[in-house]
């Protein structure tokens, strides 16, 4: 056998063996990985309404039970009315309610935003007054570590707490990301609608800002109902 044929043969065999090994590893561990991802999503959702302590370690069962006791999943139609997850939900918006008992304390909007390099997935929680953000978290993104990747850091996410998505007259304004520190960049009367930006990540900020605006606009009918304290359920 010539040298070339021998090289091709051995590389071919190597490729088959390596792919088999990788496939086995990835399929056999898939179940664990999916569970981890789901737990991570639940954890982030709970963080957006400050239900878990950042410093503490939680067992998987603890997360699941806190989630079960406090969070309920619904879909919102174009009038902002909530439907049970079991009803026909095509074209409806998923929404989570933080309701430990019968009273709703906050609602949580899943964020599926455009970033600079890919999608940014996370949650934005809004208080039951329909205008104050109580938390923002990110569980998956592809931004550059150290620059846009800072969106997954505490300091950036904490920034959103207490910001308003409507102005004093009740008009929808969404929440903006300043280019730098809010107190230097934004006039005082508008500071309540802006969060501090990330140095070196102007584009990530700009994309996230415009996506957040689009997403919150879609959920406006729900927010309006919260603001005016109108009934949320179709049955009421």
């Amino acid at each position: 056998m010539s040298d070339y044929r021998k090289s091709f043969m051995s590389v071919g065999i190597l490729c088959v063996v390596c792919s088999l090994l990788i496939t086995t590893a990835s399929t056999s561990l898939r179940g664990h990985q999916l569970r981890n991802m789901q737990l991570d999503r639940q954890k982030n959702l709970l963080r957006s309404v400050s239900l878990i302590d950042e410093q503490k370690q939680y067992l998987a069962e603890e997360i699941e039970s806190i989630y079960r006791d406090n969070i309920r999943s619904f879909y919102a139609d174009s009038d902002g009315r909530l439907l049970e997850a079991t009803e026909e939900t095509a074209g409806k918006l998923p929404i989570y309610l933080y309701m430990p008992e019968d009273q709703i304390l906050a609602y949580i909007v899943p964020i599926d935003a455009q970033g600079l390099w890919g999608k940014i997935h996370g949650y934005l929680a809004i208080d039951n007054d329909g205008s104050t953000i109580t938390g923002f978290t990110v569980y998956r993104h592809q931004e550059t570590p150290g620059l846009g990747g800072e969106i997954e850091r505490q300091w950036f996410q904490k920034n959103f707490e207490g910001k308003k998505i409507v102005d004093r007259d009740g008009n929808f304004v969404s929440v903006g990301i300043a280019r730098g520190a809010v107190e230097h960049r934004v006039p005082e009367e508008r500071q309540i609608h802006y969060v501090d930006g990330i140095g070196g990540a102007t584009l990530t900020g700009r994309f996230l800002e415009s996506s957040l605006k689009d997403i919150l606009k879609e959920y406006e009918p729900v927010s309006v109902r919260f603001r005016k304290q109108m009934p949320l359920k179709t049955t009421e």
Binding site: D3, K6, S7, S10, V11, L14, C15, C18, L21, I22, A25, S26, L29, H32, Q33, N36, M37, L39, D40, Q57, P145
Partner: protein, 205 residues
């Protein structure tokens, strides 16, 4: 006494101190800067690399006589990448949070000069068992430095070890503050530099 004179043992022990991949050969610095903010990540990274390098050495050494010379780098890389992907998958399945923190750095083990270097210079020309020992030694030599750097960075930078508070509250009350600088990558450079200095001083005695 006999054990320490054994050739296999020497191969294992040499990279731990005498010929340490980070402090003497100055390889693998990139990941040493990135993953040493906390003991947890440093330890897991050390274990992942040790796993990859010992088994890549072992595999390359077993196959060394049937690897055609002109495609040997491709062989080495494929074996290393396969092991790295397996390690990454296992971390994602069982240590999700840590694997999130390590992010790209587990994948980047593939490009770590130490792994490739040992496969090419040692495993290609030595028997399997001794190659495995060489991989183990180099992995632990790398990991040891990583853990040591992480120890100082986590202790001085956030007053913790493995995420547990070490510096007592009374220190903070008395005006002690964590060194924020230790959390930044340049701090690892400085600590590694000091360690190299220390080691060279001891070795020259």
């Amino acid at each position: 006494m006999k054990l320490t004179r054994n050739k296999t043992f020497k191969t294992f022990a040499d990279p731990l101190w005498q010929n340490n991949p980070i402090s003497i050969q100055v390889l693998g610095i990139c990941s040493a800067l990135a993953v040493t903010v906390q003991m947890n990540t440093a330890l897991v990274m050390a274990l992942a690399l040790t796993f990859v390098i010992s088994f890549s050495n072992l595999t390359v050494s077993i196959l060394r006589n049937s690897i055609p010379g002109n495609v040997r780098i491709i062989f080495e890389l494929s074996i290393i990448s396969t092991l790295v992907i397996i390690a990454d998958q296992v971390l994602q399945a069982f240590m999700y949070d840590i694997s999130r923190q390590l992010s790209v750095f587990v994948g980047l083990i593939i490009t770590n000069c130490i792994v490739m270097g040992r496969a090419e210079t040692f495993a290609m020309s030595n028997k399997p068992f001794i190659s495995f020992a060489d991989g183990l030694g180099n992995g632990l030599g790398y990991g040891g430095v990583l853990v040591l750097v992480a120890f100082f960075r986590e202790l001085l930078g956030s007053g913790k070890l493995f995420g547990y508070d070490i510096v007592p509250e009374s220190f903070y009350a008395a005006g002690y503050e964590n060194m924020g600088f230790m959390l930044l990558a340049p701090a690892a450079f400085i600590i590694i530099g000091l360690l190299v200095w220390l080691q060279k001083t001891i070795m020259n005695k």
